[in-house]
């Protein structure tokens, strides 16, 4: 999971994944749209492929890169776990906040007397 996140932490690879969300694309097409040269795109695609984010599909003379859903789902699962950790903390915080509000109201009443 961490490795997957690290692969996407490189901004251009993140942009490539975002672009491929729209559908399969060839290397030169990706390069043109993102303003990168072909060796750069090829390097990023190789790393993305090794991390399991993309697959290659030959079509006529071209090689099309497509997004694989699995790593993104893992990432989604990770974010959900992280969310639950904070949600559990915040439930405790809700209880504490009620207590602090009650205390503040108590002080207010005493002051008004």
């Amino acid at each position: 999971m961490n490795a997957a996140f690290a692969v996407l932490a490189e901004p251009n690879r993140f942009r490539i994944v975002e672009l491929l969300r729209g559908g399969p694309r060839a290397v030169n097409d990706i390069g043109e749209r993102l303003g990168l040269n072909q060796p750069q795109v090829s390097k990023h695609l190789r790393l993305l492929k090794e991390a399991g984010f993309v697959d290659v599909r030959p079509r006529a003379q071209q090689r099309l890169y497509v997004l694989r859903p699995e790593p993104l789902r893992e990432m989604h699962d990770w974010l959900e776990r992280y969310r639950k950790l904070w949600d559990a903390r915040f439930e405790e915080l809700d209880g504490l906040i009620l207590e602090l509000k009650a205390k503040e109201r108590g002080h207010g009443r005493r002051k008004r007397k």
């Binding site: 932490a9 949600d87 504490l96």
Partner: protein
């Protein structure tokens, strides 16, 4: 979920986590209280200790030190069931009571700021929305930050925490 507390009906607010860019995560939650109360609960050590390690989680917060001023440090130490300890700490870069905090987040082996966290407290009609944006400075930092966020130390811890999180709704 509604919880009745005295004469106050409290609706549980939603926690959201959003990946805003390749190295930013944002956690957002609204609390039913003015910002001054939420800010205190977030920054006074004796109050932070009440919520940072949820009661049902397999960890206890054993130290919480907060020097709330620009350049001041904070240090949180947890002890996991099984005895392993994990510390993390950082430095406050901005402190604006009760609306904004910016801090670095580091871990036991300090490197140059692994993440920069900007927390804003926005009050509206007596409620406060807290938005915590974590910007990871490098892919290694993101990696480490994520490791901490979930596993708080060790692999076993991660599994314990997973079990715990599976039981919370």
């Amino acid at each position: 979920m509604d919880v009745e507390n005295g004469n106050e009906i409290v609706t549980k607010n939603q926690t959201t986590v959003e990946r805003r860019s390749d190295r930013e995560l944002v956690v957002t939650r609204t609390f039913n209280a003015p910002a001054r109360i939420v800010f205190d609960a977030w920054t006074k050590p004796e109050l932070v200790m009440r919520w940072w390690a949820p009661r049902s989680a397999p960890m206890k917060m054993i130290t919480c030190e907060i020097d709330l001023r620009v350049g001041g440090k904070y240090r949180y130490v947890f002890e996991m069931d099984g005895g392993a300890q994990h510390a993390f700490f950082g430095t406050y870069l901005e402190v604006l009571r009760p609306t904004r905090l910016v801090s670095t987040d580091e871990e036991q082996n300090p490197t140059d700021g692994q993440a920069l966290t900007t927390t804003t407290f926005t009050e509206k009609a007596g409620k406060t929305t807290v938005s915590m944006l974590q910007l990871f400075v490098s892919k290694e930092a993101l990696d480490e930050g994520i490791k901490f966020g979930v596993d708080v130390g060790t692999r076993e811890t991660f599994e314990q925490l997973e079990e715990f999180l599976a039981t919370t709704k």
